[in-house]
């Protein structure tokens, strides 16, 4: 409980910093007509290696709070470029969350996003995640690049949103995001499931 309280103070302090950064105080939550989780992600695309990934949640007073992290996506700002462009704009569902994922190139703590048609109305971006570079057991194997957080270059991706692992002076953003999702308005579930409207990309 104390841990939770402390963590909440940390969150509030970080939210304060965020508010200063984005120039906003708070916002009233507009409740959608669907049964949704109180929390969701927002990814504000700025550059491929330095964009903002927000975790946003509404409280019992209908106030909206947020915390944000550095995130990267793609190597190009063309959202319709398969395997190269950053994540297309719009709303995404979440198709699952795993703690020890062991995919072909993606491992550890991962949030699977719905596939998404880009704005040309044709090209479908697929197999997208929010993830970092770590082993399936959430550690580091620096003999294998996809499991080692080397530095700022790791924010580049083929289209996924990537966040940092605590190595080489980078913060434990994947750990914090993971905690926020499970304990602050997301879901405690693991595995394959669908949560609607879990990411908005601007």
């Amino acid at each position: 409980m104390r841990m939770l309280s402390l963590r909440r103070r940390v969150i509030l302090r970080l939210v304060g910093a965020t508010l200063l950064a984005v120039g906003l105080q708070s916002a009233v939550v507009v409740a959608p007509a669907h049964a949704l989780t109180p929390g969701w992600f927002q990814f504000d695309r700025k550059t491929n290696t330095n964009s903002n990934l927000f975790w946003m949640w509404g409280d019992q007073y209908d106030q909206l709070h947020w915390i944000y992290y550095r995130g990267g996506s793609g190597v190009s700002a063309d959202e319709c470029w398969v395997g190269k462009g950053w994540l297309p704009g719009g709303w995404y569902d979440m198709w699952g969350m795993w703690d020890n994922y062991n995919g072909g190139q993606i491992f550890g703590r991962v949030f699977r996003l719905s596939d998404h048609t880009c704005k040309n109305g044709s090209t479908r971006r697929t197999a997208l995640f929010i993830h970092t570079e770590e082993t399936p057991s959430q550690g580091q194997n620096c003999g294998y690049e996809p499991q080692c957080w080397d530095g700022a270059g790791d924010y580049y991706s083929a289209g996924c949103v990537k966040v940092s692992w605590p190595r080489n002076g980078f913060p434990n953003d994947i750990g914090n995001i993971h905690w926020q999702f499970h304990n602050n308005g997301g879901s405690k579930s693991h595995g394959s499931y669908t949560l609607q409207y879990m990411l908005y990309v601007t």
Binding site: V30, P32, A33, H34, L36, W40, N48, T49, V75, S76, A77, D78, E79, C80, W81, V82, G83, K84, G90, W91, Y92, D93, W95, G103, G104, Q105, I106, S114, D115, H116, T117, C118, K119, N120, G121, S122, T123, R124, R125, T126, A127, L128, F129, H131, E145, P146, D150, G151, G153, D154, Y156, S157, A158, G159, C160, T194, Q196, Y197, Y200, T202
Partner: protein, 399 residues
């Protein structure tokens, strides 16, 4: 293999051929092209844009709307036959998609289809310009490779329709000895494969993994599959079909390697992060898929624009940037294809998005270059959803 014109023999391994098209249902104006007379292309170049096929100065109406939402420009949107008289192309019938009501930025207003909802049906079709005939080759199929001896390879899903969760659209690679022959399955495990092209009698293909990343495969027959490179893409296959230039991305840069199709260690490697363009003083940073290979020259899209490389005895070296992205083509210059015009002059064609995408598509500039003169010009602008070059992807001789 019968070749009607000498120029076609070269075009077989370089780019789309426009040989002998003297009749057929050509349109008076290029559909979707700007009205500045820019609809036509150089001889021996071809592109597909939605329901139009443009071959040199001729524009034809396809029987269906071309499109490959699942592959983009990873592989050709259309592939000419060895004799250049027919075109295999990917078509797409759209099903369910995101539906928005009210303010699309408001949570709850834009609904994604359920994971198992049908978002579309891909179909491989063949179009014959001389007759206007357009027929279905295979429903549920995506990506085609046409071998010089007439054999055709493609990926076909276990189901015909694609669910919203496209990772569930798994199937196999199939090969037909000719377009009309029975299909033989060449893969044993169902996965999301993509046919890239032929290197002699070996089919080069992708197997897609999470995060839009790919393994490069060499498939030499039913059940005979080998991984050429993991987490990589194919820049180009050598004209003789013995080598493939594969690219591996890492931390915003890439490394490209010339790899023997028969197996073995890379013959040559270039680190694009450490390769600087002397004109701009900037590193090339990376190259990517959709390039071409003519003689000892390779054209590839890089972070700076279209870059040329020399490959000699497997060793690869940077030559120059032929077409710089600059501010005009900041979103990239895709599918740079080397080809020879009727006079034998080496040329290049590519396309570049020049506007932000919208629901009706986007504007894409068509660039053509005179390689020897080191000059490029904007040939015209297309305004469709799906634009892609028709490019031959059969290299070398089948054994």
């Amino acid at each position: 293999m019968r070749i009607r014109h000498p120029i076609c023999a070269f075009a077989l391994v370089v780019t789309a051929a426009a040989c002998g098209h003297t009749s057929g249902p050509s349109l008076r104006a290029a559909v979707g092209a700007t009205s500045d007379g820019s609809g036509s292309l150089p001889d021996n170049a071809a592109l597909v844009a939605d329901s139009s096929l443009v071959v040199g100065s001729q524009t034809y109406r396809l029987g269906a709307t071309a499109g490959a939402p699942l592959t983009g420009s990873l592989v050709p949107l259309a592939v000419p036959s060895p004799s250049g008289d027919r075109y295999l192309y990917n078509s797409w019938a759209q099903g369910a998609d995101e539906q928005c009501t009210g303010d699309p930025s408001q949570r709850g207003n834009c609904k994604e289809p359920a994971r198992d909802a049908i978002i579309g049906r891909p179909t491989l079709r063949v179009f014959t310009p001389s007759s206007g005939q357009d027929v279905v080759v295979e429903p549920g199929a995506v990506s085609a490779a046409w071998r010089p001896d007439g054999a055709v390879a493609y990926f076909k899903g276990n189901a015909t329709d694609v669910p919203a969760d496209t990772s569930r659209f798994v199937g196999h690679l199939y090969v037909r000895d000719s377009l009309d022959a029975a299909a033989a399955r060449w893969t044993t495990d169902a996965a999301r494969y993509i046919a890239v092209g032929w290197a002699g009698s070996t089919l080069i293909a992708y197997r897609q993994s999470d995060g839009e990343r790919f393994d490069v495969l060499a498939v030499s027959g039913p059940g005979a599959m080998r991984t050429v490179a993991s987490d990589a893409t194919v820049v180009a296959v050598s004209p003789d079909g013995t080598k493939v230039l594969v690219n591996h991305d890492r931390d915003g840069t890439s490394t490209a390697s010339v790899v023997p199709v028969s197996g073995g260690a890379p013959l040559g490697t270039i680190d694009l992060g450490k390769t600087t363009d002397p004109q701009s003083g900037s590193p090339l940073a990376w190259i990517t898929y959709g390039g071409s290979w003519d003689g000892d020259l390779v054209a590839a899209e890089s972070a700076l624009g279209v870059a040329l490389f020399r490959v000699s005895s497997g060793r690869i070296s940077f030559d120059r940037v032929l077409a710089a992205k600059g501010s005009d083509y900041s979103m990239g210059i895709h599918e740079p294809q080397l080809f020879r015009d009727k006079s034998g002059k080496q040329r290049l064609i590519a396309w570049a998005p020049v506007s932000a995408p919208s629901k009706s598509g986007r504007a894409s500039a068509i660039l053509t270059c005179d390689v020897g003169a080191k000059s490029c010009a904007r040939n015209g602008t297309r305004n469709e959803r799906s634009v892609g070059l028709a490019r031959a992807n059969g290299h070398g001789r089948a054994r």
